[in-house]
Structure formats: structure tokens, C-alpha cells
Amino acid sequence: MYRQARYDEPLLNEMHSTEKKDIDANVPTILKRENLELPNIPEYEVVRHYTRLSQMNYAVDINTYPLGSCTMKYNPKLNEEIARMFLYLHPYQDESTVQGALQIMYELQEMLKEITDMDAFTLQPAAGAHGEFTGMLLVRAYHEFREELEKRRNVLVPDSAHGTNPASAAMAGFNVIEIPSNKEGMVDIDALEAATDESTAAFMITNPNTLGIFEEDILEIAHIMHKNGALLYYDGANLNAIMGITSPGKMNFDIVHLNLHKTFSAPHGGGGPGSGPVGVRGDLVDFLPVPIVNYDGEKYFLDYNVKHSIGKVRSFYGNFGVLVKAWAYIKRLGGEGLKNAAIRAVVNSNYLKERIKEHYELPYKELRKHEFVVKPKNATALDVAKRLLDFGVHAPTIYFPLIVHEALMIEPTETESKENLDRFADIMIKIAKEADEAPEILHEAPHNTSIRRVDDVLANRKPVLTWKMYMEMKEKGEIDY
């Protein structure tokens, strides 16, 4: 049985503090700080505090983490070790003193080109959504250069798209139009064709899509965009399904973002840092952010000479530490290893789907790629998710994609053995039975985690967002926890 650690761990500000010292510095009187409310705690107590907190946190290194569209694969330790070799380098150092770092960036650009069949990459975006935003800025710049931006105001996204897609397009100033899915769970080509015209700037799509279904009509989709002068954007969140078998380039995409923290095994860091390189082809190369890393046959250098560059999307060159980890992963696996990872990810997903499909509803067509979406027959997705935690596995992504009510979006990744998948399937089946026979177990779940089910409604109604806010509300009697 699973039991997560549970400590009644105080907040940092509630821990015993040694005496505060006054330190006088030579700052203008008007800017002198009067009070700094931070505790002074000995090193060993700090270490214990955060070690205990770590024990109240679930992670890939503990067990299965089938969070759909997040690709929670195992993060090889070699990557971490290598990244630690590059900690004290400044991005503005003379190029002659950072040839090793630049070589890694250059090689990563080249390898990502080979994997995706794109012509050039920027490594600058800090996350997937940041890559999407960068991509949308490129779409803007491209149409602006052709003097068509004023009429091309619309970006199309499928109704199954990640929330970041419409958000990124809107941030770049486009109107967002949703394209419905057909009954197979793919983009409705007729609806897409009808929505596409001279006002279309781009279509953003992930393939396989968020249902885990491969968009079989992708070449037709590309044709519809291109004949209308619009661009096709590839959300790379699901690249893990197809590496080495097809590529965004082979599918005629124009712009691609990748998620190095998903597909290329850089850890997710409890929410980040990620890394979202953007690849482009053809004319779009001229619009990429600066700098790109280049090689003149003797040395690597930062190339600011990009004809119509959009400039910068963040400071410096990207999340270098994450780039190093992805570089190490790709180097180690090589092309064959990457392709096998994709195959294994798809086999795992389909096997798990077969194991549980009698017990959960499987909307849309059967054949899936690296992930699939089911819904409980007799329970809410939330209850199933919370009950899964009781067995020491993480829940799938829930209530997404929006086109499936009560969705459970399951992505096992390639780094799960058959044994692990069988165990997860057995738990899912057991929960389906509980939902019929003793549904209160689900409503009350989780039981075995460090705390019981959280009151999210209360958290929204009475926002307590800092320790100070907590103290004030407690004093006024507004909260009792």
C-alpha cells in the first residue's frame, strides 16, 4: 500500500529565528530599508525543512506519471551531471572562452533540424508556450513583410488544441477562430476549408493531436493553408509519438516549436524551466530571433546577422542548462534510439488503452499514438484522478481536451515497463469497479497522500497568497486554518 510522507511542516516564516542583526550600508537615506521580515535559521534546519517538503512531493523518480501531453518520461541522470559542468559562464563572455558551450548549442540546432526537417532553429524561447508566442511573432513578421498583415488577422486552432495555442495567438494580436473536430476526432477538413481565406494568417495544430489521434489529412491541411497564403504551425508537444517515422517538415509545416523538457528528457522542474526551440523553413529563416549560433569551419560564433529578425523574445540565448540536457539525451540515444523511443511510447499507450478500454469509454477512433483519452463510465474524472493518488501513481491530465467531457488524458511514455503498465491498468480497473460498488471511496479520495482532498473553492473565494496575508486574515478571524 502507498503512504506518502506527512509532516506538519511550518512555513519558513514560522520557523524559529536567531537574532536579527542590523547591518549598515552606505545607501541614500531616502532609500534605506527599515525592516526585512525574513527568519535566520541554521543550515541544518533549512536542509531538514526542505528535505521533508521534498518527501511530500510526487515525481517521475517515484513512479508512473501519465500526465497527458506533458511527456513525463524518465530524466537520465547523466544529463544532470553534464549540465553541472557549465554553471559559471556569462552569456557575454568573449566567444573564444565559450567555444564548448557554443558547440553544444550549434550541435543541438543541427540535430533538431535533422529530427524535424526544418531549415533553421532558434533556441531562445524558454518554454513551449513561449515558443508558440515566438512562432506567432514570426507569422506576424512574415505577413507584415509581405504587406498582408492588415488583412491576415485570424489564426485558426482546432477545438482540441492546447490552451496555450489560442492564448499565444491572441498575445501576438491575432483573432482566434476554433475549427471543430469531426466524429473521428480529427480536424473537420470541410470546416477548415470554409474558414480559410485571405484573412487567415496561420493554422496551429499538434500532430498527433491531443486525443492522441494522428491527423491523417495533414498534407491536405497543409495544402489548404498554403494555397491561401497562410502558414502551418506545428505545436511540438506531441513529437514523442513520431520521431524518426515522420516529421513536421515531411508533413509540410512551416513553423515548429519543440518542448525539450518533454520529448528530449530534460526534467520538468516542478513546473519549469522548460525550453521551446522554434524551427522554420524557407523564407521564414530571415525572421528568426537573434542570435543564432553559427560555425565558420574553425570556430563557433553568435550570429546577429539575420536579415529581418524579430529581435529578442527573452534576454540572452535561451535556457542553456535545459539545452545541455536535451543535447546529451539526443547524443546518447542517437537517431535509432529516438525512433525506438517513439515506437515504444506508442506501443505503451496502445497497450494501456487495450487493457482498460472495456472499463472506460473510449470516444473517437481506436488507433492512438503516444496518448489516449478515455472517460469514466460511472464517476467524474476528478474522483478517478484523486483515487489514483491513493495507489501511489500520478493522475492523468483531466478535463482536457475540452471536446471530451470528464476526460482522462493518459500518456504513459516509453519509460514504463509492461509490468508498470499492467499495474497501472489494474488500478484503473479496480477504480472503475469501485465507482460502481462503493462510489464514496472515490468521493473521499485521496486517503493516502500527505493531505486529504483540498478545498479549491475556498482557495479561490478567500485568496491567501503570502505568509503576511495569511497572518492578517488569521488575526481578523477570516480563516481558521
Binding site: D61, G270, S315, F316, G334
Partner: protein
């Protein structure tokens, strides 16, 4: 290919395919059109040891801080990351988790991020901080967008010495809103020209952005007078968080939004990334702010608990109408900053900040006593200051590299009003006296 060292296995696949009634894995890919097929990926593999040695060789081609004194700053800084911080951040319970979507099994990370929000709020003097943006420049971009959400106005005023990289990022972040950037001047002390700023405020001004210390390292006391000049225009302050151990928090001089580079607190400089965008604001604007927020609540048994909250601002709920598209953030960097501040405490943080100021003063004094014109502006400085040069700073830097020293960030003649050839020199608590001496001696030799 040595299958044994790759992080997954193909061994038990046959049994799984049989269970599915599939004769080969290829059947699972029949929906991919033949014309879109790719014939594998042409990248050779390396075994673990081979790759480790290769990486080590590449690392040895770099000259890091410990192999060459380095006086660069300009946005990211060499600060010592205590081993306790590095070790704890390497606990895989933290770093191999993701966004805490399932609060009950993720209390550890949630509490750390709540502590992070609390300490950023304390340092900045603001009500609330989000649990991270990508870096200071993207925080600035998001702050400008937020100002526009609040007052619908279209112009942001920035100091004339704003770093070009930040300006470029800002421009990209606000392009979609049709917002424009205007620059206000500095006075002859390198501080904000309040009169000029005042005359530039119009009904179109969404926000005024000011930095303290500013890009030239100047501690600018004029920031304390901006709010009275600009009224209900949104006041965005950019900070160097370490300096806030000694300096008045922007919340006490009227800031509406505070942004800054959190790398400074406990994150290695790492060739410029990952970084950590600090973003804090007032409670009355909380529903307009971007990024994830962790809130305290209770569980079903009444125990204190933490969870992600006010999520209706975010892209996974609000999609095209979200306050930002941010999803993955810099949570682990926020964790490292939390560890750093917890480790140092108020005493340690003040000591480190003071040491930073003292070292900057020490280098300025050393240069002055050798006849250099430093600092360019006669004002108190934090970390950085401008050194005037008789020739192109890029050439000076090349000559310094030949002597085994990395000089400061080059400022070309004509970049900033009233400043000729110069470099922005930076010291932190990591610079020893012999490092500074080496710089001064080398400068004397190459000029």
C-alpha cells in the same frame, strides 16, 4: 547501439503486441501517409561514458569564472550558489515533478512556491507575487501588457538607458496590443530626469518603467518621487532583488508592479539561462496578473493545505482570453531562490548585499587611484558602474582576454546620450581583491 544504457527497454514489447493482436509495431503507424514518412534520423549514438568524456572536453574548452576573472553583469550576475542550495534543488522529488496539478500529492513543491511568493512579496514590499515568469525581460513585457489590461492605454515610458535586449523583448510583447515605447531622459547624475518625465505623461501613458539600481548600476533616489508625478499611470519598477536587502522596497514608494531578475538569488548564471522572472503586484490587481499563483486553503479534514489558485486567469481555462499564455514557468529556479533566502536569512542577505556594494566601491577606488575615470556618474552604485575608455571597448576587451581577464559589458560610442567609449564593469561578492587587481593592472597595460 548499446541498448542496455538507453533509458527504456524494447524487450517486453512482443508480448504487448500479441495482447493487442498486432503483428508488428508498424501496424500502429498505418495512419501516417506514406509520402510523409521519414527514413529514420541520421544521428549517431554514444554510450554513457563516451558522452561523459566528450561533454567534459567541451566544458574544458570554456573558461568559467574560476578560471578567468570576469567583470560582466548587465542583467545576469556571478553570485556564489551555496552547496546546500544546489544539493536540495537536486532532490529528484522536486526536479522530476511537474506543475502541481494534483495538489494532494504535491504539497512539498506547493509549499515551497508559497514560501517563494511570500519572500518576493516581502523583499519588494508588494502584496502578491506570482510563482515565476521566464526572466526579467519577459516580466517587463508581461507588466506592460498588464498595465494595458488595467487602463487600456497604449504607451509605456522607459528610461533612455534601458538595455537593448530588454527593449527588444518588450517591443515584441506589446506589438500585438498596438502599444508603443517612448524613452525618457536621465539627468547628469545618471538618474531619472523627473521634470522631463513629468512633461511626457499624457492620457495615453499606460505605464512608466523605472529601474533601481538602473542599467548603469546607479542607485537612483529619484524613483521615490515618480508616483507623485505620474498619478494613476501604472508604475513598474525593475529591481535587483539582492539590493532590496538594503534598499527601500518599491511597494513603499508607490510601485504598482515590481519585476526583476531572480537568477541573482541562488541560481547559477548558467550562460544566461534558465533565469527567473520576478513579478509582484498589489492585491487589487491580482486578477489582472499573469502566471501561476499558489494559495493556502484547507483539506477535507481542516488541515492547512496549498493549491494552485485563481486559475481562471490562465490559458488552460481561459484560452484566448487568458492574462498570459504562460504554462511551464521557472518553478525550480524559484525553488532555488527560496532555498537561497532561507539559507542566508535576513542577516546573511544583508551581509551579501553589503559585500556587493563594498566590492563595487573597492574596484571604483582602485581604478580612480590609478587615474581612470570611474565611475562615469558620481552616484552610489550597486554591482555595476561605467568606466570611460579612450578607445573602442570591444578592442579593449580583446586585449584584456589576451591577458586572461574578461572585461565589462562594452558600451559603444553613441549608444547612450553623453557617453563615449565605455564599459559597464561589474563586481559581486565573488570577486576577490586579487581579481580586481588583475583587472586594473591589465587595463593599465592595454590602454
Amino acid at each position: 547501439m548499446v541498448v542496455a544504457v538507453i533509458p527504456y527497454s524494447m524487450d517486453d514489447m512482443k508480448e504487448m503486441l500479441e495482447y493487442m493482436g498486432v503483428s508488428s509495431w508498424e501496424e500502429l503507424f498505418i495512419d501516417i501517409p506514406t509520402v510523409a514518412r521519414k527514413d529514420g534520423i541520421n544521428i549517431p549514438s554514444m554510450d554513457e561514458y563516451e558522452l561523459y568524456r566528450h561533454a567534459k572536453e567541451l566544458a574544458d574548452k570554456n573558461k568559467d569564472f574560476f578560471h578567468m576573472p570576469n567583470f560582466l553583469g548587465a542583467g545576469v550576475y556571478f553570485h556564489f550558489v551555496p552547496p546546500a542550495v544546489l544539493e536540495l534543488s537536486a532532490r529528484s522529488e522536486f526536479y522530476t515533478s511537474y506543475t502541481p496539478y494534483q495538489a494532494e500529492i504535491s504539497q512539498g513543491m506547493l509549499q515551497v512556491l508559497f514560501e517563494y511568493q511570500s519572500l518576493i512579496a516581502e523583499l519588494t514590499g508588494m502584496d502578491v507575487a506570482n510563482s515565476s515568469m521566464y526572466d526579467a525581460s519577459t516580466s517587463l513585457g508581461e507588466a506592460a501588457r498588464m498595465a494595458n489590461r488595467i487602463n487600456r492605454r497604449k504607451e509605456i515610458l522607459v528610461p533612455e538607458n534601458l538595455h537593448w535586449e530588454k527593449e527588444s523583448v518588450l517591443k515584441n510583447y506589446i506589438a500585438g496590443l498596438g502599444m508603443k515605447i517612448k524613452k525618457y531622459p536621465l539627468n547628469d547624475k545618471g538618474m531619472i530626469d523627473l521634470e522631463a518625465l513629468s512633461s511626457m505623461i499624457t492620457k495615453d501613458t499606460a505605464a512608466v518603467y523605472a529601474e533601481n539600481p538602473n542599467f548603469f548600476g546607479i542607485i537612483d533616489e529619484n524613483v521615490t518621487r515618480i508616483k507623485e508625478i505620474i498619478g494613476d499611470t501604472i508604475f513598474i519598477v525593475g529591481v535587483t532583488p539582492l539590493s532590496l536587502a538594503l534598499l527601500k522596497p518599491p511597494g513603499e514608494y508607490g510601485a504598482d508592479i515590481v519585476i526583476g531578475e531572480g537568477q541573482i538569488l541562488g541560481n547559477p548564471i548558467s550562460f544566461g539561462g534558465p533565469l527567473l522572472g520576478i513579478f509582484a503586484t498589489k492585491m487589487k490587481y491580482v486578477r489582472k496578473m499573469p502566471g501561476r499563483l499558489i494559495g493556502m486553503t484547507r483539506d477535507a479534514e481542516g488541515h492547512r493545505a496549498f493549491t494552485m489558485t485563481l486559475q481562471t486567469r490562465e490559458q488552460h481555462i481561459r484560452r484566448g482570453k487568458a492574462t498570459s499564455n504562460i504554462c511551464s514557468n521557472e518553478a525550480l529556479c524559484a525553488l532555488m531562490s527560496t532555498l537561497y533566502v532561507a539559507y542566508l536569512g535576513s542577516n546573511g542577505l544583508k551581509e551579501v548585499a553589503k559585500k556587493n556594494m563594498d566590492n563595487t566601491k573597492k574596484l571604483m577606488d582602485m581604478l580612480k587611484s590609478e587615474g581612470f575615470s570611474a565611475p562615469h556618474f558620481n552616484a552610489p552604485h550597486f554591482n555595476e558602474f561605467l568606466l570611460d575608455l579612450p578607445k573602442n571597448p570591444h578592442l579593449v576587451n580583446k586585449a584584456l582576454i589576451a591577458k586572461g581577464v574578461q572585461g565589462g559589458y562594452p558600451i559603444n560610442e553613441g549608444c547612450f546620450r553623453g557617453i563615449g567609449h565605455a564599459m559597464l564593469l561589474c563586481t559581486t561578492e565573488m570577486h576577490r581583491e586579487e581579481d580586481m587587481r588583475k583587472l586594473v593592472e591589465s587595463l593599465k597595460e592595454v590602454l
